[in-house]
Symmetry: C2
Subunit: 412 residues, 2 copies
Amino acid sequence: MPVLVMKFGGTSVATLDRIRRAAKRVGVEVAKGYDVIVIVSAMSGKTNELVGWVNETSPMYDAREYDAVVSSGENVTAGLMALTLQEMDVPARSWQGWQVPVKTTSAHSSARIEEIPSDNIMAKFQQGMRVAVVAGFQGVSPEGRITTLGRGGSDTTAVAFAAAFDAERCDIYTDVDGVYTTDPRVSAKARKLDKIAFEEMLELASLGAKVLQTRSVELAMRYKVKLRVLSSFEEQSDTAGTLVCDEEEIMESNVVAGVAFSRDEAKMTLVSVADRPGIAATIFTALSEAGVNVDMIVQNIAEEGRTDMTWSCPNDQVKRAEKAMDAAKESGVIRFDEMIADMDVAKVSVVGIGMRSHTGVAAKMFRVLSNEGINIKVITTSEIKISVLIDRKYMELAVQALHDAFELEKSA
Amino acid sequence: MPVLVMKFGGTSVATLDRIRRAAKRVGVEVAKGYDVIVIVSAMSGKTNELVGWVNETSPMYDAREYDAVVSSGENVTAGLMALTLQEMDVPARSWQGWQVPVKTTSAHSSARIEEIPSDNIMAKFQQGMRVAVVAGFQGVSPEGRITTLGRGGSDTTAVAFAAAFDAERCDIYTDVDGVYTTDPRVSAKARKLDKIAFEEMLELASLGAKVLQTRSVELAMRYKVKLRVLSSFEEQSDTAGTLVCDEEEIMESNVVAGVAFSRDEAKMTLVSVADRPGIAATIFTALSEAGVNVDMIVQNIAEEGRTDMTWSCPNDQVKRAEKAMDAAKESGVIRFDEMIADMDVAKVSVVGIGMRSHTGVAAKMFRVLSNEGINIKVITTSEIKISVLIDRKYMELAVQALHDAFELEKSA
């Protein structure tokens, strides 16, 4: 029988009633003839509670013990979901990560899945079991210790199971009904997309649209897993939600698929850096070693032999970056006059695979912002994305103007 | 290095502060030179919450899923305890049941421990680890599924580890400071015992003194594990609490060690049963098959060919017993005139290994009760115990009178 993977996030299993509602959706797919693998998160709030306890107990915690503690929430939901399905006369049982086993690297609290043997669960399907409920977010290391995949890791568990079992589709049930052209809270004209290409979703995910864990999209792209994002709080239908798929499966699409944004950015500038070959490498190696995730980079030649170096990074890494730069200055590795951190910035991006074949998207974006009187501080581009850093107070205005200008409220 | 097992119950690990306090006690034993195996329960209330969810989800639950769900509380405490010890610079790590592995039977939710291989943890001790924190109450079946040992099972986990690791002692930390001659809430003269024999503890445990799980005492007796019950809320000392040990280790003891009681009893009588060979077997087989735990049994010959059959069983099994007897009557297997259930009874027992060599204990007990005007409904005796069923309203009076008469407030 064809296999379907269904993943239910924390809000979709937050109470026994919601677990029952999710189980009913599973029952519908079983009735259609699917063998179903259900991946569950912890009941919402549970993982945060556990993480809080670990942090309070040991601020510099041993990641192996962190994993042993925080993985327990998913085990509870998996058992309760299996019991709920059994009550509905659907043959089901639960699996914890080590029982499958979900084999991962030993990188505790951010482990990567290496292998998921399918024989164990497949044998049960052949014996008449119809649903395997698997605790998401967790696995087991080569040393036999429990690992976790990082926050949002249950999405990755779901996609990895879909790949390992050659599933027809991987349905991600969440508290939103799909992927939107932009956040509906910022633009009332935001429209739900029926389909979006993996590459676009990947850019949106990493740009702060928190619908899917970035790694799950990467994995789905690599293994061509059809991924559907849909709400567990709306009517069930075969066309609900947004299908994340290969771009070949999308017949028509707008040049720009969506407008993403992030408020958690900061802009940092080293003023008048003594310029010499390799100075950029020196600066960004030091930042990387300090654990700063640099996003955009701009270099201006100020005068002969001096340069201004500007980058953006997450807000909460500014202190760390300042410390690293001060240390590098003190040790004489780099020289600069001044360091400026601007916390009041936001990043706004337009994303679309159509950009590959359409020119003028960047020019149009800059014109739209200019017409609104919005000054662009930093620009970066990729093949299918243009991002700008602007004053944070203009963020909503920029998103709305771009959404209008690219006519995202209309489908292709 | 000698191994010590320390078990902390739910109230002893109910909060992060209490876990810290428990960890400090462990640190003291490590400093003395012990390698310590710590067995932890779930934070108090957690297991009840999980059991509640399972019951609400599925009243006739699959015990395998029940075990998967309710075992998760111990995993959380084990990880938090290991982290707390690490914060105190004590080398420690946590183990879940399947990681040791604690091999059990497949009798889910009341599994028995079959084997605990010590090599895994011993190797870590040899590498410098000083504390192995093990999640209590759980194990793994031959099929690789999670099992639990029944409520209070962490006591049994602790004793089994003490036996497997040939531990010097097994310290059970709880919310009472030891085993008393009777419940101090019933008699103000109750005295804490410094030592008690396994056999006596076994009778007290099964008579409703809820300090230790009965099976843990059986196991300790079989493997000669020195068991100490002490409070985690009082000062640490080598002589604190009560030592449960072989009777040879107890130099002097009172004839009677303690007075136990239970309010959860009911007395049931079948009036005028048609008597024939094998009638008792028929009745008690039917009750046993209905899941009724019959405790005391009395048979009176009423008249030629007729008999009254009386037994006691837990209060909450009366309905079940009535159903079984009605069914047996209907199918013609047994005949009786009337069935009477008396819920207003209590069981009071005196226990002591000294009874083996001292006569007259029963006579004295009956005289004491008679002097107080208390009518005895049923009597049973074992080698070291005499139990009577009386009206519940006289229970406290009976306990106090017996405690006085046997001078239990004085040590031997």
